[in-house]
Symmetry: C2
Subunit: 278 residues, 2 copies
């Protein structure tokens, strides 16, 4: 999927929501545990109930690896289900990978080609040759960690290097890499005040924004400072939506939560003067 197509979907659905599919067997409705693949059945129900309200799904691979081979089967079934039923939805493998060149190539192939995700999250610590193998895939996207939403973000990401914070250096340096047009960035919503600064460095890139809701970030603040003419934001919500209820009506409750966020996004899009043309 191209970023133009993603922006089109945002306008069609009046939503720039991304739903995180982070399935924890201890938190899902207990009746699902009797089924052969509870993780997939949970995801399928969530997807069926929310696909018209969201433009992206983001399974975090940790939650699947934690269940070993069965977990990987659930991940594969989930991405296949989305790609077959809803090919217009942008998919993100939240894997936070990164390794030396030949090894990153293996990860890139696994997520972008074999599993056929539209994008994968990647950690920047190992630099250019650890990221470029991901960037080499046409019409696929590499979502680089810049400023994350957790407390530990302040350990290294905000340290000053050459007079600017490390995450800003990551943004700047990454723009010089081959196929940099395939880059998006993770920027946590808990620091809305940083978005204006970030937009000076990457005015055109999509930002994947965790930390709205459960982690306390404000949607309207983030949009005020972070939106660009292509919208340029994917706001992720995981727990607040998928664990809205653990009763048999969990999918309907998840839809209600997604609907609340989508309505807020629709209002914001109405107020925003973008130069979008269909």
């Amino acid at each position: 999927m191209t970023t133009q197509q993603l922006t089109q979907q945002i306008h069609l659905k009046k939503s720039f929501l991304c739903i995180g599919l982070d399935v924890d067997l201890t938190k899902i409705p207990q009746h699902l545990l009797q089924l052969e693949d509870p993780i997939f059945e949970f995801n399928k129900a969530i997807i069926d109930a929310t696909h018209d309200l969201t433009v992206a799904y983001k399974p975090n691979t940790a939650f699947y690896e934690a269940y070993g081979i069965k977990g990987w089967q659930s991940l594969q079934k989930t991405i296949n289900y989305i790609n077959e039923k809803h090919p217009d939805i942008f998919t993100i493998a939240d894997a936070k990978r990164g390794d030396i060149g030949n090894t990153s190539s293996m990860y890139a192939k696994a997520f972008l080609e074999d599993l056929n995700f539209d994008s994968v999250t990647v950690a920047p610590y190992m630099g250019k040759d650890s990221v470029e193998p991901f960037l080499a895939f046409e019409n696929k996207h590499t979502i680089l960690l810049a400023l994350t939403s957790n407390e530990g973000a302040f350990d290294f990401q905000t340290l000053k290097t050459n007079g600017k914070e490390l995450y800003k250096q990551v943004l700047e340096t990454s723009k010089t890499w081959k196929n940099a047009e395939n880059l998006m960035y993770v920027v946590g919503a808990t620091k809305a005040e940083y978005f204006s600064e970030i937009r000076k460095i990457v005015p055109d890139s999509f930002l994947l924004v965790p930390g709205v809701g459960a982690q306390g970030g404000s949607l309207s603040e983030v949009c005020k400072c972070g939106m660009n003419k292509s919208i340029g934001l994917l706001i992720n919500s995981s727990r607040a939506i998928i664990y809205a209820s653990n009763e048999s009506n969990f999918a309907m409750k998840a839809r209600e939560e997604a609907q609340k966020i989508q309505s807020e996004m629709e209002e914001i899009l109405k107020r925003t003067n973008t130069d979008y043309t269909d």
Copy 2:
């Protein structure tokens, strides 16, 4: 396994070699491809041929994920085989993971508990709460990326932050984390001159050292600057050993390459005056 036990194994085997099990189906002997699980059969042959010469095995998870569910089965069979046949060998899941706290916990459980590796490599970019969940496992080890062996290491790791390079800040900050005694560090051999500096910050920690051999680092130089009284080094070699030949005698050829390195290590250990007591 404790670090004391690891040091004992080093003295017993006169080796501080770690063999990287990075299996690429395009590079292994073609006759193995007819078997049901070529990756595991390749690993098994390499392990059978080298286990007395090495103190550690390190599968890089990328090479297994690249083959999807079948790859995970091969990884599971490989770690089970090592743990059953050679419980004295230190095992490293080279996964370079790192995520927000609850997610890192899932990864930690997957690698340190379910797959039962002795250790896992972790990326530091997301800071304290992304690493501490790995450190919480008793007698398990978290091998934090400090200074990697690839060209991209110079993009961010060597940037000056507060007057010192980022990788030194990572070393210093990580020492303040809970259960920091379970930390080891990845330090690339391509920059042997850095080892003396690193030893000033982490005199007692084990360092996992890639980049000897294929990537051009010198074993004796690294040992001169990096060894401590517990030896404190695991020197990794992957391709130079496991792909020494792709003929039917590949395991014997791998053994010959491992033997060369082990002999060099035995010489170095003889020359080194350590205060080790059995």
